[in-house]
Symmetry: C2
Subunit: 192 residues, 2 copies
């Protein structure tokens, strides 16, 4: 997606060989028009999948997920992060380890909002090692829902998450794939 | 705002005399079309204020804030509830006590994204005691920015936050004001 790639080139900060900071338009400040374009693009790619619900994780997934859900005309659910296990019958829950933040979170979704009748599109801002996505997939499975696809704003192509998911047969659509980060050098994108 | 009021009547759960749960369209599942209507309504009310930035708090403020910012054609910034490893120096920070969750959080905004040149519209999902809003106002002050107004999706009119802010001269626009919650009884709204 050309507009996203340009934005990453212009405003992305390469902090290390694994950390790309996009706080100016996605992770802290949000560019609403870009979110509309991102939502429209995800909706275009998944429009024939019969998606009934978009599911994401707070907080940075919310803006792209809401714009996607708006265009697909379905609700969106954001998984909440919790420090500890919340025991309750009607909650789906998974553990997610963040390599960036070096903490484990539990993510929680209410059973009221993802059910066995749902065909789910998972949306997230970044895909690196795939831990968050695995957590969301666990929740989809617990709910007995089916998975219609995975939409990622920025994939770190040099980490395993995207490749693993595609090898397992999942449809992963990443709007930008970064293949190499090196401070002081231009970001290398995968040609898509 | 009639559509919001109806949605609260139909789907809001009154858990106690102070707790209104709106997890089906705002706080966990999100209704994207309603968020567009909410954003349009805030934008309509504040369109002559010369707003340059919408600021909210993760996570439930993000969807209404993004839709408002989209319509006002400005960026949105969401305050983070704890320090992220990728945010560095030049941070504005305030402490926020949540009466609902009985915990204090620090909320943090990067100095890169709110500056002395900004005229800020603060947006949040709920206003009760006003603690979160005071935290955001502290951050606006630290940044040397000016405050153009406060937009609230649901105000709990029986708590002090909204009245206090209006007494201090701030423009607070709440799209629904709930005056009384009592389990098993209809929700009482203020006529607006």
């Amino acid at each position: 997606m050309e507009a996203l790639r340009k934005k990453i080139e212009q405003e992305g900060e390469v902090l290390s060989e694994t950390v790309l900071k996009v706080d100016s338009f996605l992770n802290h400040q949000i560019d609403p028009k870009l979110m509309v374009e991102i939502g429209n693009e995800f909706a275009r790619r998944f429009k024939d999948e019969g998606i009934t619900k978009v599911v994401t994780i707070e907080s940075s997934g919310i803006a792209p997920a809401v714009m996607t859900a708006l265009k697909l005309n379905v609700p969106v659910v954001f998984a909440r992060k919790r420090k500890s296990l919340t025991l309750s019958d009607d909650l789906y829950e998974a553990e997610v380890y963040s390599f960036t933040k070096k903490v484990s979170n539990h993510i929680v979704v209410s059973g009221n909002f993802v059910t066995k009748d749902d065909h789910v599109l998972l949306i997230d801002d970044f895909l690196a090692n795939g831990q968050a996505m695995k957590g969301l997939m666990t929740i989809v499975q617990q709910a007995g829902a089916s998975l219609g696809g995975i939409g990622i704003v920025i994939e770190k192509g040099f980490q395993r998450g995207g490749a693993d998911l595609r090898e397992q047969g999942y449809r992963v659509e990443s709007l930008a794939i970064v293949d190499r980060l090196s401070p002081g050098e231009p970001i290398e994108f995968r040609n898509q």
